[in-house]
């Protein structure tokens, strides 16, 4: 006669792990002052309820729509201009940081000499620094340095994204077959020529698709950066929220969603087209 075995062999380790997690998270609860009941307190709920109720209908006055259109254009322009500046920095930096164009590597079976490695580190370090500080921190700093407005956003995107693009480009250059470039270098061609004819044809599609993807990210980032005063849709959302203008917030958020969807589709189209 078979009977159900009620013993669970994994029960004890599971219990111990749960206890450990709780012990670790308990001080965390204190630190983060987590309190879900705040949301349910009646006065807060009434306040939020009134604010959310004003979300419908979304604001659609002619004047506001004009403002919305301008903010959307500004967001797009910030992302595009920021990407252009980022490319200006990222392309030379990636060429400097990549091992793919090392002369010593061409004659040493793909391993660059110690000195070559050492000299590449400063460039890599700068790229790491540029992309490790979050873009919104750069935006905040630039707002103080060059004033409120889209310029701060453009510069912040340019700096962060040059770090990201530079690193990824350098890695893409190293990821393809190195033999064509090495052959060219050994035959006496210059480094730029070796790059253009030995590496670029193999990596062009990947470079383009990554750049377009980053442009899409830049649009999202430029919206977020508006919250510290760097122009575009984000700044408008921040302003409308501070004025408790629910309808305006609703139309701004809807516009943001449409913009992200549009950028997503456009980037897919471009990648399909250029690949």
């Amino acid at each position: 006669m078979l009977s159900r075995d009620t013993r669970d062999p994994a029960a004890r380790p599971r219990l111990l792990l749960s206890l450990l997690a709780i012990a670790l998270l308990w001080p965390g609860m204190r630190l983060s002052e987590l309190d879900l009941s705040v949301l349910l307190a009646s006065d807060n709920r009434g306040e939020m309820g009134r604010f959310v109720a004003t979300f419908w209908p979304p604001a659609h006055g002619a004047e506001f729509l004009e403002l919305l259109w301008q903010a959307t254009l500004q967001t797009l322009a910030i992302a595009t201009a920021g990407m252009a500046l980022a490319l200006l920095l990222a392309i030379p930096a990636s060429l400097l940081a990549s091992r793919a164009l090392s002369l010593s590597a061409a004659s040493r079976a793909g391993r660059p000499s110690q000195w070559g490695q050492l000299l590449r580190w400063p460039v890599r370090g700068v790229l790491i620094f540029l992309r490790s500080v979050p873009e919104i921190v750069w935006a905040l700093l630039f707002v103080r340095a060059v004033g409120l407005g889209p310029t701060a956003g453009v510069l912040a995107i340019a700096i962060t994204y040059s770090g990201m693009l530079g690193k990824v480009y350098a890695e893409i250059f190293e990821s393809v077959d190195q033999r064509p470039a090495h052959a060219l270098l050994q035959a006496g061609s210059g480094r730029l020529a070796a790059f253009s004819y030995g590496i670029l044809p193999n990596v062009a599609a990947e470079l383009l698709s990554y750049t377009v993807y980053r442009w899409e990210c830049a649009i999202r980032a430029s919206v977020v950066m508006g919250f510290v005063g760097a122009g575009g849709l984000g700044q408008q959302i921040d302003l409308s929220m501070r004025m408790f203008a629910g309808g305006e917030v609703a139309s701004l958020l809807l516009t943001f969603l449409v913009l992200v969807l549009f950028a997503d589709q456009l980037s897919r189209l471009l990648r399909w087209r250029l690949a």
Binding site: G28, S32, E33, A77, T80, V133, V137, L140, A145, V154
Partner: protein, 255 residues
């Protein structure tokens, strides 16, 4: 023909870039003018001597712990709610609930963390609580969708076997579906936690606690020396998370 289209595309991109600069009225020449550059250099110089006094370092340590706690609890809350929403979103309770829960998940996911943070600061007051809730809301959307996809892709046979043996639906889920799913869920959760640590350190800009709030405060009071220490702390945090995650990924992928 293809060449022509590509040429046109390149032209379009070129015009888009030029119009962007024109539209924003950015004059790079003016930005690079010597007076402006001198001013910027003076501004940068004030960041070069970070404030390393014990009191400030203690405050930063507290801020970093707060950031970590916010991200951990936000991710944990998101895991719970994400799993609750993922079950209907994977079509376990019929299509009306599936449509509804997918709509909720998409809405949660589409609104960026920072917007949620502003809303939560309005709803729950200044402080890390608002940041935790904001992270939880956005991450619920992300994790819920990922969980739902994972649920749809797990093989149903183990759960079916338990059902056929007479186990109820809860047992079938806990012992038939969850063990297969668990490694994937854990990978998603850790990945989002990593993202959330980075996000938690900047949510403070809108008053939602953590290192960001310190940085915002210090910059507003023109205490650049203190601000630069906070930025350094953020860098250290990001590096630590990056190193830890790449190390653990290499380790577990080999195993």
């Amino acid at each position: 023909m293809k060449r022509l289209v590509n040429l046109l595309l390149v032209l379009c991109i070129g015009t888009a870039v030029l119009t962007s600069f024109r539209y924003l009225g950015i004059d790079l020449g003016e930005l690079g003018a010597s007076g402006n550059l001198k001013q910027m250099a003076a501004y940068v110089q004030r960041f070069l001597s970070p404030d390393l006094s014990t009191g400030h370092l203690q405050a930063i340590a507290r801020g970093a712990l707060e950031t970590l706690a916010m991200s951990a609890l936000g991710t944990l809350l998101a895991t719970v709610f994400g799993l609750l929403l993922a079950l209907p979103a994977a079509g376990r309770f019929g299509w009306p609930l599936q449509g509804l829960s997918r709509l909720i998940l998409n809405a949660l996911r589409a609104i960026p963390e920072l917007v949620w943070a502003v809303l939560m600061v309005l709803a729950a007051g200044l402080g890390p609580n608002a940041g935790t809730l904001a992270l939880a809301l956005h991450t619920t959307g992300v994790l819920g969708r990922l969980f739902a996809e994972a649920l749809e892709n797990t093989p149903p046979e183990p759960a079916d076997a338990i059902r056929l043996q007479g186990g109820n639906a809860v047992f079938a889920f806990c012992y038939g579906t969850l063990p297969n799913l668990f490694p994937q869920l854990l990978a998603y959760i850790l990945y989002r936690w990593e993202n959330n640590i980075r996000m938690a350190s900047v949510l403070g800009f809108v008053g939602a606690g953590g290192l960001g709030q310190m940085l915002y405060l210090n910059l507003s009071l023109f205490q650049e020396a203190k601000a630069s220490t906070v930025i350094l702390a953020m860098l250290v945090l990001v590096f630590a998370v990056d190193t830890l995650s790449s190390w653990s990924r290499q380790r577990w992928e080999k195993a």
